[in-house]
């Protein structure tokens, strides 16, 4: 005796929709002044990163022997000039692209790789979990700065190698977070119910696990962006990342360090940009955390 459906129609009824989790989190975020402020800074930086070359008032590569190390507010050099007489404002604007790229890419890659590994470890459990987590623990044992420098040094200088080493640095902590939230969600009754309905592991992870673990992992990953910005700049500063004459804030900080006594304010500008960017990402990540922490 099976259940027979005597519905007059085979189409679903029109339904009142309530606001979903993501919409709710987004609305909460928009009501948070800190989130809006830091969000605007991040947005501005992204605009600079995309449209920088068209927004810059001067050629960021054009050097001038006569216009070296001009102070802030000089004619033609609103924010001064660097040790080769290149316009600082233009270099800072154009430098946003590489700096953000170097800061965001490793976190994005680590987010994708780390979440996949964490989901696999957390959902599969058993020896798969042990294998993944113990491997991750080995990398986790090194301080992140040391690991980044060591990997970059071993792989050799260059943008690609710097990105690769930073990705390797940020993957383990994301795997850990992903594994722990997945393990929690996996034990809940609704996952059992989904298994009882005969769904395969991939479907269960996609429909039932992912939506519940994405929030915490995403929030954690955003908190790494600031660290990644600083580490990427640090690698460039050490000559392990971006090569001159490309404008990148960490590298600019390095080349201007000899000018710290003659033009301290100009020399500090790239550092200020790194500082503002990482603070903005940090504040945004904090706001995201509280907006997404919905107590159902």
């Amino acid at each position: 005796m099976a259940i027979t459906m005597t519905s007059s129609t085979l189409s679903p009824t029109a339904v009142e929709r309530s606001q979903g989790y993501w919409t709710g989190a987004a609305r909460k975020l928009l009501r948070d002044p800190v989130a809006v402020g830091s969000g605007l800074i991040v947005l501005t930086l992204l605009i600079l990163a995309v449209f920088g070359p068209w927004l810059a008032p001067a050629d960021p590569y054009a050097s001038s022997m006569l216009g070296r190390l001009k102070p802030i507010g000089s004619p033609n050099y609103v924010l001064g000039s660097d040790e080769l007489g290149r316009d600082m404002l233009s270099r800072l604007i154009v430098g946003a692209r590489l700096s953000l790229f170097m800061g965001l890419t490793p976190v994005l890659l680590a987010f994708v790789i780390g979440m996949s590994l964490g989901l696999l470890a957390g959902y599969a459990g058993g020896w798969i979990n042990s294998a993944i987590m113990r491997t991750v623990d080995v990398l986790y044992a090194f301080p992140s700065v040391l690991l980044a420098i060591a990997l970059s040094g071993a792989l050799g200088a260059g943008i690609f190698n710097a990105l690769l080493s930073l990705t390797i640095v940020f993957t383990p902590p994301i795997v850990r977070v992903a594994e722990s939230v997945t393990t929690q969600v996996r034990g809940r009754d609704f996952v059992e119910a989904a298994r009882a309905s005969g769904a395969n592991a991939l479907t269960i992870v996609r429909v039932h696990v992912l939506g519940n673990v994405l929030g915490p992992i995403f929030v954690y990953a955003t908190s790494l962006i600031a660290v990644s910005m600083i580490l990427a700049s640090g690698l460039s500063f050490l000559g392990l990342g971006v090569r001159p004459p490309e404008p990148e804030w960490g590298l600019m900080l390095n080349t201007l360090r000899t000018a710290i006594y003659t033009q301290p304010w100009v020399a500090a500008l790239p550092g200020a940009m790194i500082f503002i960017t990482s603070i903005a990402f940090n504040l945004l990540s904090d706001s995201l955390r509280s907006a997404m922490d919905v107590k159902n």
Binding site: P12, T13, A196, S197, N296
Partner: protein, 346 residues
């Protein structure tokens, strides 16, 4: 009572469980023997089409483990499940087919619904897994929500946290029914609800059972509720079945001392008959190292020396009506047992 006996051609049980065992290994130092928790230790029972089998017992007696084993959410250490005459996992009854025939409603109405899905999506998930197109699955979900008393226009698009406990449990029932199962396992499905809501949900369950011709396995610690809904009742103690029989008989004239203690512990509906004395003292023994012989003997008021040496087996006039106690096993050596099979007492 005895609904299964009156059904023509239904002599074969719908679900037959043979020698089901689940041991959970514990961790131990390398080289040492790993101790096991004997959560379910060799149980046999039958479920007949159309009946409600109540399962009772203290916490830790293996009720929920049995439910999870039946659902194959955990794999058994040993034993087999026969559904509709076919062994589950064989080619005639592959796991996926079996899965949709047996569904479960969990105790925690909130934890058993995905907080990120609307309730219509939760209900429609099962049918979609089994290949029903999304639109049709959604229509079926709306149908079922209406049948469990949740008007789809108002409720289908809501999230679990926007519903009350009783409403959520109705959603869970709809979800279990969405796969058109023949057996529904209700694992403490109404225990967490308020008494008034509990009664409504129980009546809904009984209505749905009649309407869809369902078979229920009703697991609960609430003996009044079990008595109200069950045709037959199975009593479990420390991973074993100690008594099984028709509900009225089991509650009116329990045979096993443990069942007697349980029924005596039921608070009476009549205040004049309330008893202050505790029928059963102590906690169940450790399932890692269960007592020898009859597992109940350390707490049994009628225990005899033989009880600690000899393990009784489930026996009775019918596999669906049996008790596992040496007092009821002729020739067992227990002073209260018949000496021989023909019933003379020493």
């Amino acid at each position: 009572m005895d609904a299964y006996l009156s059904r023509p051609g239904s002599a074969a049980p719908l679900l037959e469980i043979r020698g089901l065992v689940k041991h959970f290994p514990l961790t131990a130092p390398i080289g040492a023997k790993r101790p096991v928790v004997r959560a379910v230790d060799g149980i046999d029972f039958r479920v007949f089409a159309g009946e409600t089998l109540g399962v009772v017992g203290e916490s830790g007696c293996g009720k929920s483990t049995t439910a999870r084993l039946l659902m194959n959410l955990i794999s058994p250490t040993a034993g087999e499940i026969i559904f509709d005459g076919f062994q589950v996992g064989s080619s005639q009854m592959p796991m996926k087919t079996f899965r949709r025939q047996v569904q479960m409603v969990f105790q925690d109405s909130y934890a058993s619904l995905n907080p990120r899905l609307t309730i219509e999506d939760s209900v429609a998930f099962g049918p979609q897994v089994h290949g029903t197109p999304a639109r049709e699955a959604l229509a079926r979900a709306h149908d079922l929500l209406a049948r469990v008393g949740l008007e789809p226009g108002r409720f289908a698009g809501r999230y679990p946290h926007e519903l009350s406990g009783g409403q959520r449990q109705r959603v869970n029932i709809a979800r279990a029914l969405a796969l058109q199962p023949r057996v529904v396992i209700l694992d403490e499905a109404v225990s967490a609800l308020d008494k008034s809501v509990e009664a409504q949900v129980l009546n809904l369950l009984l209505d749905l059972k009649a309407e869809f011709g369902l078979t229920y396995i009703f697991i609960s610690h609430d003996l009044h509720v079990v008595r109200y809904v069950s045709d037959r009742v199975m009593v479990m103690y420390l991973g074993e079945v100690v008594e099984v029989g028709p509900a009225e008989q089991l509650f009116e004239s329990p045979r096993h001392p443990y069942t007697q203690a349980l029924t005596q512990s039921m608070p009476s509906m009549d205040p004049d008959h309330r008893t202050e004395h505790v029928p059963l003292a102590g906690d169940p023994p450790n399932p890692i190292d269960p007592p020898t012989g009859c597992r109940f003997h350390p707490r049994c008021p009628q225990a005899a020396p033989v009880c600690s040496q000899k393990a009784p087996s489930l026996a009775g006039p019918h596999p669906a009506d049996a008790v596992s106690c040496l007092m009821h096993a002729p020739g067992s050596g227990h002073p209260l047992a018949a000496v021989t099979a023909n019933g003379t007492r020493s």
